[in-house]
């Protein structure tokens, strides 16, 4: 009798486990989710250091940037 109960419990647990496993491995074929997955794993890391000659100089902008830097370092 005990063996039968234990066997039944094992089978029930196995069925539940199988159900959960099959849910977890089911692939989502939604086209939006597939594309988002592609986008999310892209390693966006290209580094481009600022260059002084990158943009035309503007005395007002230079002054604002210098003031901001001074305020931040106070």
């Amino acid at each position: 009798m005990h063996k039968a109960i234990i066997s039944f419990l094992c089978l029930a647990a196995g069925a539940v486990f199988a159900q959960e496993t099959s849910d977890a491995t089911a692939k989502d074929d939604d086209p939006v989710d597939l594309r988002v997955d592609v986008f999310e794993v892209i390693d966006v890391t290209a580094e481009k250091a600022p260059v002084a000659a990158g943009e035309e100089t503007d005395p007002d902008i230079d002054a604002i940037l210098e003031e901001a830097e001074a305020i931040e370092s106070e």
Binding site: D37, E47, V51, E67, E69
Partner: protein, 240 residues
């Protein structure tokens, strides 16, 4: 003309001229398409919430808005670098839009480049298997810690939103840069004449000749655009 010379019949000359004009038109079209197109057909993919890394950043930014508002109202409420940010926002408000773009571009580009941590999260397409993903910073996170290229672009986006630039005219665009052989992010600005500017992290503003880029995807508060696999109108809705 010598007697032995063979003359090209007028019909052939016309066909050649038409073919040359066609090739020229094709070349011009290709060149024009090299610039970022806000209205490229079939590129809209989904709402911004479909892209979790960005949706989470928008949520965190919304929570941090109070910190920024308090700082703008009172300098004593500003922590660390936010005092400098406050100064830039206040001064920028007095400038015309083009100079606001230049100021924001240069101010954000002065921040420290720092590769962000990638985090493991479940993938929908891989049956819940964990995949490494980028994290996108809010404006305040970027000001405090610095970031890598998509963080520069998002910081410019949020800062320009503070200055009143409409979301519909801005997108954070992830590109593949052929010269660097790496993925990069820039902020695209839609101009009133229909052209686009790209705010770069090296302080340049690319107003044309954006040919070195292959645009991959773009986001703003309103949506997510796929520039690699444009879909015919209605195809996504039908497939869902």
């Amino acid at each position: 003309m010598g007697q032995g010379e063979i003359r090209t019949p007028p019909a052939v000359r016309r066909r050649s001229a038409t073919a040359a004009a066609g090739l020229l038109l094709l070349a011009l079209t290709t060149f024009a398409r090299a610039d970022y197109q806000f209205d490229a057909p079939g590129t809209y993919l989904a709402a911004a919430t479909a892209f979790p890394a960005w949706a989470e950043t928008l949520d965190r930014h919304a929570e941090e808005r109070r910190v920024l508002e308090n700082c703008l109202a009172e300098i004593d409420a500003c922590e660390g670098r936010l005092k400098g940010l406050r100064h830039v926002i206040q001064k920028a408000a007095l400038l015309e839009p083009d100079r606001q773009l230049r100021l924001v571009n240069r101010y954000v580009n002065k921040r420290r480049y720092r590769r962000d941590r990638r985090r493991l999260t479940p993938s929908a397409a891989e049956g819940g298997q964990a995949m490494l993903r980028n994290q996108w910073a809010t404006l305040i996170e970027f000001m405090q810690r610095g970031g890598d290229c998509e963080d520069y672009a998002t910081a410019k986006y949020f800062l320009l939103r503070e200055l009143g630039f409409p979301a519909e005219n801005m997108r954070i665009v992830v590109t593949y840069e052929r010269q660097l052989r790496a993925y990069h992010a820039v902020l695209a600005i839609r101009r009133s004449d229909g052209s686009s500017w790209l705010l770069e992290s090296d302080n340049t503003i690319r107003k044309s000749r954006q040919r070195g880029y292959r645009f991959v995807f773009a986001v703003n508060e309103d949506g997510l655009w796929d520039h690699e696999q444009p879909v015919p109108a209605g195809a996504l809705a039908a497939g869902r």
